[in-house]
């Protein structure tokens, strides 16, 4: 009996790990790919190592883009739905709402949350779950323009597919910079 319960606990641990892997892999394969502009800084996570904190142009949404209009400031942790559509090379916000809505044909709907430092009066600060990009040790201080390719599955939960430094894959570009 004890062995069965022990195996059950290990199976639950493994189920979470594999479930997360499956969700992320499915999103990477099936999600719609969008490209975004960023500005990085480079802290370190105790368990996951060096990473870039990515701040996107779409992280601050002007209140004027909300439909229906916002009557008051949103508290932190509130879910917000954002529609982005291509403008030149990158995707930019065309509409935001507190309720899920049907986006225009060329737009992609992303789920976001208001961030804790949401204190601006003219815009709402959002987090998409795309704010951390983990990199190889000591390669978290790049020089150049960073762009992100993200995937957005039908659930709206975006994840990072690839990061580019001056148009080249990040790891490859950083190898040259660190040599």
């Amino acid at each position: 009996m004890r062995l069965k319960l022990f195996v059950l606990v290990l199976a639950l641990q493994l189920a979470w790990l594999l479930g997360t892997v499956a969700t992320q892999e499915t999103a990477l394969v099936r999600g719609q790919v969008i490209r975004l502009e960023t500005q990085p800084v480079d802290p370190r996570d105790l368990l996951r190592g060096d990473y870039l904190v990515l701040n996107y142009k779409i992280s601050n949404v002007p209140k004027s883009l909300f439909t229906p209009p916002l009557a008051e400031n949103l508290p932190s942790g509130e879910t917000v739905w954002v529609a982005v559509s291509p403008h030149g090379e990158f995707y930019e916000i065309v509409r935001a709402s507190r309720e899920r809505f049907e986006p225009a044909a060329d737009a992609v709907l992303i789920k976001a949350q208001t961030s804790w430092n949401n204190r601006r009066s003219d815009a709402v600060s959002l987090q998409y779950g795309l704010e951390q990009y983990f990199v190889r040790e000591r390669t978290g201080n790049p020089r150049g323009k960073i762009t992100v390719e993200a995937v957005v599955p039908s659930s709206g939960r975006a994840s990072i597919k690839q990061v580019f430094l001056d148009g080249r894959p990040y790891a490859e570009a950083m190898k040259e910079q660190t040599q």
Binding site: Q24, G77, F134
Partner: protein, 396 residues
């Protein structure tokens, strides 16, 4: 008496093999080498877990993510499987098996980090620790492992620390107020330890109580520092319900658990009420005004002064409980924190360089003398415990 001493007596021909065996059984002595090997095994497990965590953090991009995942998961399951084989099937190496289970539980956290790193997942930092704790919480009870139990207590404490510090948390407390929550968590562990006594998992009780007491002392001690929890914006804001809720949990656990203490009725009530009142006072220190209102130059807050006094009384009562429970740990910790409490109070009473300099000289001399007195007193108390223990064992 140590096992090695009995061995020496046997080698000198002063006792026979039979007498040696009787002495070992009577005092329940164990070979010290076993203990050393246990420590070595657990340190080894923690080193391997830390090493793997660092290798994951180094993030070798040359290794495909499928290989990283497979290796990570296989190591975790392998550690648990090998541990089960050593303990449950082979039955010869229970401590090494326990160390491998510990490694497996640490590797679950490493795998959570690995998955988060591979897919660049951004989430609230406490959530990963909560997931880790939830994943390993059942293992101590299933494996009957004290080491796993200690790990889950630490995991819960780490999650609690992250959560209390998290900006968007329901139980968020600001700055210095966080120590109040940590000290109350210590008392929760103490009560939980008492509740475990006499249960099917009675061997988890001592480690729970000790961790709880250490947590309590370490985090309640700053309250005795002058200026701590001082009146400034945001100092005493945040969640207004978490501290009273924790105090209620402490009181419930203590009410249930103190019945199982090896104390007479009067001392069970005294110690139970002391723990409950201490929880209440810690909560109260959050709500009362924190202005400095008295002392030289009005530099002393009532919170710091009452905390110093309260800690002193708590330590004295704990020493008495330690004597009755024959616990050298309770006595030693009580004595150490009486000394620290006195140091904090002395420093708190003085302000300028001249006064502080003078105070350091006076209190240094005092502490030298007081240290000798405390050490003598501590030895007498420990001697009393040993005498009582031997008396009881001989009696039984």
């Amino acid at each position: 008496m140590k096992f090695a001493d009995v061995q020496k007596l046997r080698e000198a021909g002063l006792i026979s093999d039979e007498q040696k065996q009787k002495i070992v059984e009577h005092f329940k002595l164990q070979e010290e080498s076993n203990r050393f090997l246990v420590i070595i095994s657990f340190v080894g497990a923690l080193l391997v877990a830390s090493g793997i965590a660092l290798l994951i953090a180094a993030n070798w991009e040359e290794i495909p993510r499928g290989v990283k995942r497979a290796v990570g998961f296989a190591l975790m399951l392998g550690a648990h499987g090998f541990g089960w084989w050593l303990r449950g099937i082979l039955g010869k190496y229970p401590k090494s098996g326990e160390a491998l289970h510990l490694l497996g539980s640490c590797l679950f956290l490493a795998n959570i980090a690995l998955v988060g790193q591979i897919y660049h997942l951004s989430s609230r930092p406490p959530n990963a620790i909560l997931l880790w704790w939830a994943g390993i919480a059942a293992l101590p009870w299933l494996l009957r492992s004290k080491a796993q139990h200690l790990l889950t207590l630490i995991a819960f404490g780490v999650w609690f620390g992250f959560e209390v510090n998290q900006e968007d948390s329901l139980i968020r407390l600001h700055d210095e107020c966080q120590v109040l929550a940590y000290s109350l968590l210590g008392l929760v562990y103490v009560g939980f330890g008492y509740a475990l006594r006499g249960s099917a998992f009675a061997n988890f009780a001592r480690v729970t109580e000790r961790l709880g007491l250490l947590l309590f002392f370490v985090f309640v001690y700053p309250l005795t520092w002058q200026g701590f929890l001082d009146d400034y914006p945001d100092a005493v804001t945040g969640s207004y319900w978490i501290l009273p809720a924790m105090a209620v949990v402490v009181i419930a656990l203590v009410a249930f658990g103190t019945r199982k203490l090896e104390l007479d009725r009067q001392w069970r009530w005294t110690w139970g009420l002391t723990l409950a009142a201490t929880a209440g006072l810690v909560v109260l220190s959050f709500y009362v005004p924190h202005e400095r209102i008295w002392g030289w130059n009005n530099n002393l807050s009532p919170v710091n002064a009452f905390a110093a006094l309260g800690l002193f009384v708590f330590c004295l009562l704990q020493i008495q409980v330690g004597l009755q429970e024959r616990s050298a740990f309770l006595v030693n910790v009580g004595v150490v924190f009486i000394a620290l409490d006195i140091i904090a109070s002395y420093i708190g009473l003085f302000g300028t360089m001249a006064r502080t300099g003078l105070m350091f000289v006076v209190s240094g001399v005092f502490l030298l003398a007081f240290g000798v007195y405390l050490e003598k007193k501590r030895r007498v108390l420990l001697k009393q415990i040993k005498t009582a223990k031997i008396g009881t064992e001989t009696h039984t």
